[in-house]
């Protein structure tokens, strides 16, 4: 690219808020992580309930293991996405810094065009643009990784609905003494899953804005 040609593709002013968007995604995933940690608590309570109920809710016991597994997967996945999004925000800020430097160099080309030393800036310009291109590639890759991870978590959460339904089926067959408690587990699993899904959905649409 010819230095000072202004052909370099700057981020538009709205794009300059990329790092803000990425930070918002990280914050959403932080909320999702906390919701997922609630799921862990629900799983532990369900297990205790299954132990107390014994034969009174025999079919429920294996379900609690699945809830536990779901909780673990959800916690680790949302933590991972949180980290990816935090890193993405850092990369976006770096991208803005590089763009600003290039914009400043363009101004210098314009205002010092008669200087005998103006071409000493060419190597600086080339280096900065090349570095910036690497930053952009890494940034795009990071967005792809973030998207993949969000999809994975979304798929994992589909199990929550099934687990809630199965818990309700077990509740019907359990001693009446435990029915309310089992239905309660089902409700909790469902509502936590819904709240995590909401965070994922809004993260996904924010990520789409970054492309």
């Amino acid at each position: 690219m010819k230095p000072g040609s202004k052909k370099y593709n700057y981020m538009s002013s709205e794009n300059c808020s990329y790092f803000v968007t990425a930070a918002v995604i990280a914050a959403k995933l932080d909320q999702a992580t906390r919701a997922a940690q609630q799921l862990t608590l629900i799983a532990s309570n369900a297990k205790a309930l299954a132990l107390r109920a014994g034969q009174g809710a025999a079919g429920f016991r294996p379900l609690t293991d699945f809830i536990h597994k779901l909780a673990d997967v959800t916690v680790s996945s949302s933590k991972k996405i949180d980290l990816l999004a935090t890193e993405l925000s850092r990369m976006a800020a770096e991208k803005v810094r590089g763009d600003r430097a290039i914009a400043h160099f363009d101004t210098v080309y314009e205002n010092a065009k008669d200087s005998p030393y103006i071409h000493s800036l060419d190597v600086v310009y080339k280096r900065t643009v090349e570095k910036q291109q690497d930053v952009v590639i890494a940034y795009r890759q990071q967005i792809d990784r973030l998207n993949e991870e969000l999809d994975v978590l979304e798929k994992e959460l589909r199990a929550a609905g099934i687990l809630a339904t199965l818990s309700r089926v077990e509740a019907l067959q359990a001693d009446s003494f435990y029915q309310d408690a089992l239905n309660n587990v089902a409700d909790n699993v469902e509502s936590v899953a819904v709240s995590i899904k909401t965070h994922i959905k809004s993260s996904q649409s924010l990520v789409a804005e970054l492309h």
Partner: protein, 247 residues
């Protein structure tokens, strides 16, 4: 931004850049200095982020960019060195000389390529090809880690915020009437300088130096007898006074 040559010899030259007509009016006017020797150039208090393109435009009219191998920040203030993150993109192998006290703070401006060379409390020296510059401690004037640059051959003392004045953007670069200059610098020194003890210690050390020009980061340069006048005035001034006490 305007350029003035302050000194030139076979070994090196001193330039000052400032009085930038394009500078936003809310930003304090600053003087940036550059020492150019055979193969190297030192930028002294290169300035704020807002000034960067104007500065690089001015500098590149004097030297090729790769010749800027040294930067100096007398202290940590934004008007001194907040442009660092951009110089860091422009200069690949430069060294920044600044008080050791501020290293971990100044790095917040963004520094990946430039090397930080911490100046110890007692000062030190810098050789630029055949030129030799001394780092003179000026702590608490105003910053708690603060250094001046003295050039014994050019007899120039770059004094940072000491001797600073709040001036019109078109003001001349040299003090031409010391008495008339006092009101422009009095409040600045009384309010920004916190310690009479540090001030008097500095004055007595600086009196020992042979100084032809005292060059502050804001306002005008003192030449000849005005250097002594400034030292006398500063010595008798009580500093460390808030606006309220100033009345």
């Amino acid at each position: 931004m305007k350029t003035y040559k302050l000194y030139e010899s076979s070994t090196h030259a001193w330039l000052v850049f400032g009085r930038d007509p394009g500078k936003p009016s809310q930003i304090i006017d600053t003087n940036q200095y550059m020492v150019v020797s055979k193969d190297n150039a030192l930028l002294i208090d290169p300035g704020g982020i807002e000034l960067f393109s104007a500065m690089l435009t001015t500098v590149i009219k004097q030297v090729p960019v790769e010749k800027i191998t040294h930067l100096f920040a007398s202290h940590q203030d934004p008007d001194i060195i907040s442009s660092l993150g951009l110089w860091d993109q422009a200069l690949e192998n430069a060294t920044l000389h600044s008080p050791w006290l501020w290293e971990s703070f100044i790095r917040h401006f963004g520094m990946n390529n430039i090397t930080y060379s911490p100046i110890p409390d007692e000062g030190g020296q810098l050789h630029l090809d055949d030129a030799m510059l001394r780092f003179i401690p000026a702590h608490y004037l105003h910053s708690s880690g603060n250094v001046n640059i003295y050039d014994p051959k050019a007899k120039i003392l770059m004094s940072g915020d000491i001797g600073a004045a709040l001036e019109e953007p078109e003001a001349p670069i040299y003090v031409d009437n010391f008495e008339a200059h006092i009101p422009k610098m009095k409040t600045f020194h009384q309010r920004w300088m916190p310690s009479n003890e540090a001030k008097n210690d500095w004055v007595s050390r600086v009196r020992e130096l042979d100084i032809e020009m005292l060059c502050p980061q804001h306002g005008r340069i003192f030449r000849g007898d005005d250097v002594g006048r400034f030292l006398d005035w500063f010595e008798s001034l009580e500093v460390g006074i808030t606006q309220k006490a100033l009345g």
